[in-house]
Amino acid sequence: MASIDYPLERPRPKEGEFSFSETLYRWVATVDHKRLGLMYIVTALLFLVIAGLMASVMRLQLAFPNNHVVGPETFNRLFTMHGTTMVFLVGMPFVAGLSNYLVPLMIGARDMAFPRLNAFGYWIFLFGGLLLYFSYIGGGGLSGHGSAPDVGWFAYAPLTSKAFSRGASTDFWILGILVAGIGSVASALNVIVTTICMRCPGMTLTRMPMFVWVMLIDSWLIIIALPPLTAAQVMLLIDRFLGGNFFNTQAGGSAVLWQHFFWIFGHPEVYILIFPAFAILSEVIPIFSRKPLFGRAAMVGAVVAIGFISLGVWAHHMFAVGMTSWSNTFFAASSMLVGIPTGIKIFNWTATMYGGKLRLDTPMLFCCAFLLQFLVAGLTGIMLAVSPFDWQLHDSYFVVGHFHFTLIGGLVFGLFAGMYYWFPKATGKLLCEKLGRWNFWLFVIGFETTFIPMHFLGILGMPRRIYTYAPDRGWDFWNLVSSLGVIAQAAAIALFIWNVIDSIRSGEKAGDDPWDGWTLEWATSSPPPEYNFEKLPVVRSSRPLWDLKHPHDPDWKFEQ
């Protein structure tokens, strides 16, 4: 292999003077954490639109009874790809993208600990995603059956065995997720090492921004929880290609074991996905309340507690498979236990706002909506943790409503808050506030209209994953309402994308510190230079920028 020599001092053209091939090279070959972070986020947004369109088709199909927009096979593929995409190709890259972009800036570092591994992580994630979507072309496989995966996002055995899942679509599901998972683990490892080893002088763990803390625990969960999925998928590959018997019940194998393995990954994964929202709220709410985060130590304790307790709650997804009553009791209790640290977080965010000088800009609006919606999601979660209740509503639309409240009402609202908050840092331009408000209100209205009725439908007995229903079940009205909400949600997303494009082109200049921030990322220019900081900063409190802005009243006089 010939190595390429780079001249040490290349004349550096100004931005906008690059040729197309140079620009391409700068993006493809980059090891800069900020570029990789943006690439992750843009890719995630693309997949978000694709999976959102799939959801819209499903809602169109379910809007009326006996509808025939798509057939049952297509519907199965739609919900499988929707779920898989949203979890693995939207949620995970958002985790990686946000932590990539912000963690080094917040801890005063110039790059991640392993910049090349970081680039590898992004690309292998992207290729994994493309491999999954290649199933639409190549999924027919050897025997010519199927196209996209249609086994549900948790791919229960024995539905995934060769006998029931012919063709190669399930193999594409396994391999695509496995490959993307390598990227997630690589990026999580990188975040952990960066946080532990790359902090600027004075940035002790107690002074570390809450965002970095949450992302550290999030990455911990990723490296603990993702390998079980990879292991289970390797077992499934062995079953499908080498004739193994892991999940083959006819040879004494256990289909329930797949469920255990999947949910050992699957439940921590839910926390992995919601943590970025926690991280964003912990930064945005204090800034827009003009108060330091309430109960910092308790917040750190709560997030660490979730990082451990959430590893022991997985079987609450399996109350209906007939476990022993002791298992049911244990997992019901541990699931409720998670509610305590989560409750601490909600209380502390609220307490941060209490008595503060609130500025209701778009990021803060999304945070307020998060608090309410995530609270509802948490309460329905507690309901479902009661195993007899779960037996009634397992696999019903109540569950669908519950987890969409966590993942959209929680995660996506948090992500919007984060994107509105840090967009000026990444681009130097402010997102349009007026469009932001439209975006917010349309999204809130659309979200509530779509997902509140799902709870009712679940209680009325509508099961998940059905592609249509008879008109005499009493489900028509709420299904129609739910489908109508999609219009407002789609409009909100379209507005956001337009807002991003328009603001990059001709947005208001943001300046380096548009929100009067306190963490280090606001101390550098917008967008930050490749080296982030000319001099590595020295930190003496958890709000280094406050200290600089208020030399007569610095935080370090009061902390510790």
Binding site: E9, L175, S525, K535, D553
Partner: protein
């Protein structure tokens, strides 16, 4: 990454002209592509895997050359144009509020009614309510014992099956049960009123006297079927609401007349622990 020897405040300028940053490289991307192809071959064709393997090995060597013997760096020039704006110093100084200082985290209400007011208010309200209920019994069923027996049916299930005549007649046991039950509930509700009354806006007795009984009636209306089916079957809702209003207005009036006392929130920790004499109430 080069060891940084110069630290400074966030956003400070440095005398250096260049900063060492990791050099761009596309080998990680190629390696990722190779690994992805290698695995994709499992489900497509072995030739894909073979290609992927070759690509991955080549990329691994390329990556190897990037980091061994030394991680490849490039010198990023520091561009003065990209320097952050200077951080503006806030000249206003901030005075920190001390614990117990006026206005600092004041909890509302600052003054509350004593529990004793609640006790007496509850008794007064309970009397008014009982009087109205007996009036109802006289007018509707020509017996003051009728509502008393109905109330007692909550704890004496036999009364649930009793006929109208039996309900009209005096029943000693029922009377005692109803008397105790009504008295205890009245006092408890009275104390709750006393606690809540300072939290209402202006004209507290009005709100507490009119609105709360209505809420309470609504709550009873939905649950009465479970706690007292006999009463639920025979109850007259207009009279019931009237009795509740009587309780609310009389009780609220009695409580509002009491002298408010201030909470301990303005006291220091030592005062609250009675290590020091508490400050005298201004009144």
């Amino acid at each position: 990454m080069a060891h940084e020897t110069h630290h400074g405040e966030a956003g400070e300028h440095s005398e250096q002209t260049h900063i060492e940053m990791p050099a761009p490289t596309f080998w990680p991307m190629v390696f990722a592509f190779g690994v992805a192809l290698l695995l994709a071959g499992i489900v497509t064709h072995w030739a894909v895997s073979a290609t992927g393997f070759v690509i991955a090995v080549c990329a691994a060597f390329g990556w190897w050359h990037d980091v061994i013997p030394h991680e490849r760096h490039e010198e990023q020039p520091i561009e003065p144009a990209l320097r952050p704006e200077p951080i503006l110093v806030e000249t206003r100084s901030v005075v920190r509020l001390q614990l117990g200082e006026g206005g600092h985290r004041r909890r509302i209400p600052e003054k509350i009614h004593p529990y004793s007011a609640g006790f007496w208010g509850g008794l007064a309200g309970g009397t008014a309510m009982a009087g109205l209920a007996c009036l109802y019994g006289l007018i509707a069923e020509h017996s003051i014992w009728y509502p008393i027996n109905l109330l007692a049916a909550m704890v004496i299930p036999d009364l649930g099956q009793a006929s109208i005549e039996q309900l009209r007649a005096f029943n000693g046991l029922a009377f005692v049960a109803a008397f105790i039950g009504h008295g205890v509930i009245s006092v408890l509700v009275g104390v709750v009123y006393a606690v809540m009354l300072p939290m209402f806006p202006k004209y507290a007795p009005f709100w507490a006297g009119i609105l709360m009984p209505l809420f309470w009636s609504g709550l009873v209306a939905t649950t009465l079927d479970i706690v007292n089916p006999a009463m639920n079957a025979r109850i007259s809702w207009p009279w019931f609401v009237a009795c509740q209003l009587g309780f609310g207005l009389v009780g609220g009036f009695v409580i509002a007349r009491s002298t408010s006392i201030s909470t301990m929130q303005a006291w220091s920790l030592a005062e609250r622990a009675f290590l020091e004499a508490p400050p005298r109430d201004e009144k």
